[in-house]
Symmetry: C2
Subunit: 631 residues, 2 copies
């Protein structure tokens, strides 16, 4: 009899059952059972915590990474990291998902600031009624319709694609020479439809974020959104951030294909959802516009992102790009085009271009700044006539990764914090007002700003252990501040901000501020000269700008100059979908804008070191913060 | 036990064996066994004669069409038409193919007059060596190569197709940034290849005739033909002429698909043959140029030709047209384009445009005529500045169809005839100097011209039965002239020219001359003003122009003005393959040339009736013939 080479794994409390072969980790099953993960199963984030209730002996011994993330007591209780726990023997394993590892329903911001554009889509429809041929008028079908297009619409069409050409003779005659022509860029006929179908003209705009994908079904006859849909990026199981996806995709062509297929399937699912909602035929969608960072862009198009993963971070192309939907398997009209906005550089993608278009920072005749905060933060500075930009690796700390009790902005995340400077007791607000189970990016920024103002930490971010308060404590070599006692929480554990957490945030905010300051130096712009600071991205929407200023993440400017622009990547995609002109502007833009590679700047190290301080080594840069902190 | 529902059919003398289900005719098996057929199995040509040696009772009783084409004695001997003989019972059938029904090796003319063109193909290759990216020069791959193309070759490329884009990053790095770019129309990169592959740049030109397909593999670096290949049009089993193929294709979409697939397969076979001959990789063929009459064009592109089959004979388009090879399944480079020269009208196709290009009649500053003789004869007239054209249904008589002993210009065909006016005995020459087994188009024209000169027939084409000569006789209601006694022939039968045959040729030549004369009237051109008469097409190559003049098929002009241009359709295709400029000229041409629909001309009937006479009712139009005939 052959030995059974698999283990049966049951995840509680949901009771989901998986069969896992010997030699494989519990990671994929855990992902399917909604266990949190930020590093794509590489043992780096420590978020995929599970508890083995039964079958410990069937699992490998703890890995180095588990020793780092889990305490001895936790091991005794059965805690493991799912991605490190490898099945070594056949049998039955029962797993519990602790509350803190459960992925909650995440807040997905899908709206953003949007500039008005003149409706002029790339694809248009024209109804025509042409005379039928006679012995005196025996023009061929194609020449008959182009003559009529010239006459009725003053269009000079010279081309027809193969798909439409094949349909042309039968369609003309089956609908008595009354047809609707679908025309691309006022140049080429891409379909010929029976009768008058002018009304059925839709487009779909997609913003592919590393974490989130948002889609907008638009009526191209009026430029209005008819359905908004969104989902988590289905590539997340392959890696939480762009770097882990690059490394996965670069390993072999099948991996690349898998990542590509996953996002295409995801986009198709969004399209279907939007069409189902509105009862619109997906074949009436004649164009798809996508924006995304450079890595998402490359993966969407099945282009190997390998060289985006190492210096000098070279993309395959930055120009805008068209490809037929059928060539990449997008389920809309078969002859529809998929258009991508242009990119700027390896880490300043089409999403940043969309930000620029949506905020119209490129049209301002004033000095202004645009910051799109994410794992990579893109920064664009206008001196009133020119644009300059950079990208900075701010890391995933604002998304909760690398933070002891960090989590995304999902149910139960502490998102706002106030600290009473007298007794050092905090007040907080959680997402959905549920019992806290962690702290998200905006909560951490708030907490550190409040800790600074309450003098719990000093300008170097050091927690003052000399303060005598039960919330400030040493715990296994860790110094921390307790935000929520375990009795208040949903995870039955104290939620704290550790010294390490503070340092992670200092690194992140210093990265951002260094980028800002290097750009401002290049253009010789002072903070006070800025007329506007746009903060784009979902994270920005929840950020307390006062706190961000206090910790020195953004320049010290009056709050009324700060504009939270929201998901401008999606807005830019929608603008490009409804306006051909915007596409030309985008193309000009990326050729004009100068990209600064921060790593190549001689004063980078020095700027960075100064920006690590709270708010900054040069306190004169932050006069209003100085006033509040009173030094 | 289930009854056997099939018959086993063996064709002698080759012994080929077929299984034919009850209800099906012997036609397809006969075709496969090389039995002649000119009507595509519709019982119209009477050429698919076979002899049933065994199993007569397994076959249907004679059809109306067989009663027309076969005599009582022949029936007794077992003669049948393969396309009419339907299997009605299971069993074994032995069939003999009589000599006259065997398809010989046909002469296929593949060469033709060709104008010199400047080498400037649509697809070119450029070798590039680009610097690899650094921290100071981090341009994306695409922008890196377009910059280098500008620098080294002064090219302004803005586009890259999806196929090449996907390959770009890996190819650049696997060949150390030395790559060969394949560029279309100096506009778009369609492939990127490792190292220097500039030498491997080929194109393929195809001339799709109703009967014959010729292919030319060309080196696009020097414009030279490296291999010439040809085959019978594999669509022939579906119908010998364009009308029968239109009617077959129009019946249902599957039929159209079958005809389309058949010609694509045929072209692929030619490509393979040419590549095998020369050891060239078919993936190094970057473009295919096709020419053909309008019906062949439509069928090649899978466009329904239905409306070419009835008045007003409207094509789907006349403009030139590009489609990707992968879209229609041509086995060359997957991103290669298939280009078709433009058409002029329903019965004046891209082959006629190729004729015009190859003969350069459109550049002449003199009055000139171009005649491409075939089942449809295209006629183009230049008045020294403008072109006018028409098409005339000259029928398949010149190809041997509808002629009692007619056959194609294959082995054993009588191709030249002289008649001694004294004793009325003929001398003849056959193809390959084999014993005669029929008479081909040029032989018939010769024979009739000689019969006219020997006064065997009168100006109305009537055989003078009053002449007392054993070669002139009445035979079963048929009046005929014996060209070869059965002892001389390979078919053991007298080969004759019947009164009906003469009438068929009169109809055919009258159709041609009517077209010529209507065009000449339009432009007010007299025969003597013509500086050149080009005769294009394979048939033209064998035609005795003196005889053609004598019977009034072409205008009476000095022989030194007649130019036998050969297969100019192929030449035009090759010119278009090597020169982008020729394509523009072709496009202008078809917009300038005026097409005359003969059926709509008020004097058509009258002109036709006059042209039925030998040489013509108005003998003054044929002064030199008048002199010879002495009236
Ligand atoms: S450590 Fe397991 S998913 Fe990150
Ligand atoms: S009659 Fe049989 S093929 Fe023409």
């Amino acid at each position: 009899m052959k030995k059974i080479e698999e283990a049966e794994v049951i995840f509680q409390p949901l009771g989901r059952r998986f069969i896992i072969p010997i030699g494989e980790s519990l990671y994929l099953a855990a992902k399917a059972a909604n266990v949190e993960s930020l590093c794509g199963g590489r043992g780096l984030c420590g978020k995929c915590r599970i508890i083995i209730k039964e079958g410990k002996s069937l699992i490998s011994s703890p890995s180095v990474s588990e020793e780092k993330f889990l305490s001895k007591e936790e091991f005794i209780k059965g805690y493991r990291l799912a991605c490190q726990a490898v099945v070594v023997n056949a049998g039955k394993i029962i797993v519990e998902i602790p509350f803190e590892s459960r992925v909650g329903k995440q807040k997905l911001a899908v709206l953003g600031m949007e500039a008005k554009v003149e409706l002029n889509p790339y694809i248009k429809k024209y109804f025509l009624e042409v005379p039928s041929p006679t012995l005196k008028d025996f023009k061929p079908d194609f020449e008959r319709i182009i003559e009529a297009l010239k006459l009725k619409y003053d269009l000079n069409i010279r081309r027809i694609n193969y798909y439409a050409l094949k349909k042309l003779p039968m369609t003309l005659r089956s609908s008595e020479f009354k047809v609707t022509l679908v025309i691309k860029a006022e140049k080429e006929i891409i379909d010929v439809e029976e009768e008058n179908k002018e009304k059925e003209l839709y487009g779909f705009a997609v913003d592919i974020g590393t974490t989130k994908v948002a889609g907008y079904l638009m009526d191209l006859n009026n430029g209005k959104v008819v359905a908004t849909v969104s989902m988590m990026n289905p590539q997340i199981p392959y890696g939480e951030d762009v770097i882990s996806r690059i490394s996965y995709a670069s390993k072999n062509p099948l991996n690349l294909e898998a990542l590509h297929k996953t996002i295409i399937d995801g986009v198709n699912q969004l399209i279907k959802e939007a069409c189902d909602k509105t009862n619109i035929d997906s074949k009436s969608i004649y164009e798809l516009v996508i924006v995304g960072n450079t890595v998402m862009h490359h993966l969407f198009f099945n282009i190997n992102p390998k060289f985006l993963g190492s210096s000098p971070y070279v993309p395959t192309l930055k120009s805008s790009f068209y490809v037929k939907s059928k060539e990449i398997g997008v389920g809309i009209h078969p002859e529809a085009e998929v258009y991508s906005l242009p990119l700027i550089a390896g880490f300043v993608g089409a999403d940043a271009v969309a930000d620029i278009l949506a905020t119209e920072i490129y049209k301002l005749k004033e000095k202004a700044l645009l910051i799109d905060i994410g794992t990579n933060t893109e920064i664009i500075l206008s001196n009133g006539s020119k644009l300059i930009c950079c990208s900075t690796a701010s890391g995933p700390a604002f998304e909760g990764a690398h933070i002891t009790h960090g989590m995304r902005a999902a149910t139960g995340a502490i998102e706002k914090v106030w600290i009473n400077p007298e007794d050092l007791n905090p007040t907080y607000k959680t997402v959905d007002d549920e019992e806290p189970r962690g702290i998200c990016g905006s909560g951490i920024v708030d907490a550190i700003s409040e800790m600074l103002k309450a003098k719990i930490i000093d300008f170097n971010g050091r927690i003052k252990t000399e303060i005598n308060n039960s919330r400030i404590r040493k715990n296994n070599n860790t110094i921390e501040y307790v935000i929520a006692w375990k009795e208040e929480t949903a995870i039955n554990k104290d939620i704290t901000i550790t010294q390490k957490d503070i340092f992670e945030i200092q690194l992140a905010k210093a990265a951002i501020y260094t980028g800002i300051s290097i750009l401002m130096n290049k253009f010789n712009v002072e903070p006070k000269e800025l007329s506007k600071v746009f903060i784009a991205g979902a994270f920005g929407l929840y950020l307390n700008s006062e706190s961000a200023k206090t910790i020195g993440m953004i320049p010290d400017i009056p709050l009324n100059k700060i504009i939270f622009a929201g998901n401008t990547a999606g807005s830019g995609a929608r603008m490009a979908l409804t306006s051909k002109k915007i596409r030309d502007e985008a193309e000009n833009l990326v050729n004009e804008i100068k990209y600064i590679e921060l790593a190549a700047e001689p004063n980078f190290e020095h700027e960075f070191a100064s920006a690590l301080r709270l708010p900054h080594k040069n306190v004169n840069l932050f006069p209003s913060v100085r006033k509040i902190l009173n030094f």
